[in-house]
Symmetry: C2
Subunit: 363 residues, 2 copies
Amino acid sequence: MDVLLANNKPKAQAFLDEIEGKRNPLFIATIATTETGKIPGLSAAGANPDFTDFTPPADAELLLLGKCRSIQGVPITPDGIPTPALVTASALQVADIPVVVVNGGVKVKPQVPYIDVNGSPGRDIRTGDAVDNVEEVIERAKVVGEQLAKVSDYLVIGESIPGGTTTALGVLTAMNVDAHGKVSSTLPTNPHNLKADVVAAGIKAAAKKFGSFKGDPFKVVSAVGDPMMAAVAGLVIGASKQGPVLMAGGTQMTAVLSVINALDSKALCNVAVGTTRWVAQDKSSDICGIVKQFCDVPVLAADLDFGPSQYPGLRIYETGLVKEGVGAGGASIAAMAKTGGAVTKQILLKEIERNYASLMQLK
Amino acid sequence: MDVLLANNKPKAQAFLDEIEGKRNPLFIATIATTETGKIPGLSAAGANPDFTDFTPPADAELLLLGKCRSIQGVPITPDGIPTPALVTASALQVADIPVVVVNGGVKVKPQVPYIDVNGSPGRDIRTGDAVDNVEEVIERAKVVGEQLAKVSDYLVIGESIPGGTTTALGVLTAMNVDAHGKVSSTLPTNPHNLKADVVAAGIKAAAKKFGSFKGDPFKVVSAVGDPMMAAVAGLVIGASKQGPVLMAGGTQMTAVLSVINALDSKALCNVAVGTTRWVAQDKSSDICGIVKQFCDVPVLAADLDFGPSQYPGLRIYETGLVKEGVGAGGASIAAMAKTGGAVTKQILLKEIERNYASLMQLK
């Protein structure tokens, strides 16, 4: 299979062997938005900062309907690069993997059905008071994770949240994990210093409300996290009791890992992170360097290669733009695993090109 | 198996054979509330009319958590008889069948996760303008039905909506099905004339807004239906393309059948109604007499028998109170089918008694 073993190779291989050929995965797209995502220069998940409110609902629509309803076309970066949901949707389609959407907390509701876990959109983490209702959202998401894991062979849980690597840096830092310079970015140049400044301001402000975090994951997510984290942490904890869970994302998922590790470390036995080669081999971030600090969760990476694409808008992924999102890597791994490797990176690229041409209205 | 074949015996047997032994059903509890349910004398799904707003969310909580959060104890009739969700919860537990909740439109949100399909609570059908957004809810529910049917072997779709047999009579009447005196009731004496008066008022009022219905199911549900119907119709249409669907309910489900029949009659090929013996053999209603007028969908009935129970509150089901609700019959059939008949009516009764004693805090 076109899957790389990026961290803890023996466990990564064992996880891949366990899911290979399993016919019944379920993909969960967890969506959320925050004011953090609108800080200029942080996120490219939208043509401009105010558009980031529309990116997660539009991604959800693309996965469920094959087109967006909340916006025309599809979400793009300021450079016009299409959303990685295009990769996810293509992978899920080609392997006929079903999808549900979990609303972690969005400002603009998607025009498709979604699971409500009572989450709200996040505030700017520089307030030090970013997320409401964290414990309750985790509890509700646990129930969802448990029920959906019972009905499927395994869950693949992705995220769409603009600005998510900054909140990830916030949570990792507050959990005493050294993540400075290690979180990934959609942008051509990773704005590590801007992220660090935002996080430092958030942690300083949070001290007034929360005092010391003392490793309390509820406080940490409430202060400097985002609503996706609460939802995904609950989903994973609920699901991992029933079967394997592939957390589909890049360095954002390491922040969720740190939260789960603090809440219920046993849950991590059944968990792997599934991302893309572009994240796993990224020189401006270090996903494995984060994970290794506190757990032995394996990291797998879909060995995607858009170099041979006929479309410049896809070839540009090879320069390190976008890299990951909406569970693109994990969905690709699941598509390969479900088909026992019959879906290759070449087949996947053909499907992505077909959908890209159709959605971008190219010839 | 302890299942009766109540309508179209060959198709009913074929349906039962098809689901027997299948290990992966999924139960969907569709909840909604209406002002129709508060008309005095119509519904016993709550200790008094205003409590009917709390019954569906409390039922959903009971299924997912094993206890209610929106109310103390469990929903009861004015006579103190507990909600049939107790039967459903017991059946799902004993056979380890997972559950999701779909919010068709409730006034009081459940304190558990639910799937949102953009529905709103229903108005009193005497306004002739009872339900908003019917077509959109059906479209969104189709998406849910399709995705959840892909991940499961078959869906079992139940409802909790007080006053639902009156709105069923409304829709059936507007669809030119003779249902007078044929819809069921939770109450000791079925208030057929009151239901007929409410429906007649609704149809008269609707004529001003909608003119003739001309068999248009969107107009009919909008005028004299309820939000559960739109959600369940969409779920069934979306799911039946993927696999079998057991519509878990009594005469309310016949109204949904009439809606599906008008929208997409092919969808009914893969559908059965699953109810209880108390409905199938009820002398004050006639589920098969309704179904036969417009389709050949089989009706199965769980051969439940609470006569041997040690608890008067359960034995009273044998006198015809409650009869059905929250998919009690269909969930029981699914529990028996999943276990290849190993779950019998005796085993089910033991489980129900155990949960009843615990929830009612009996010794």
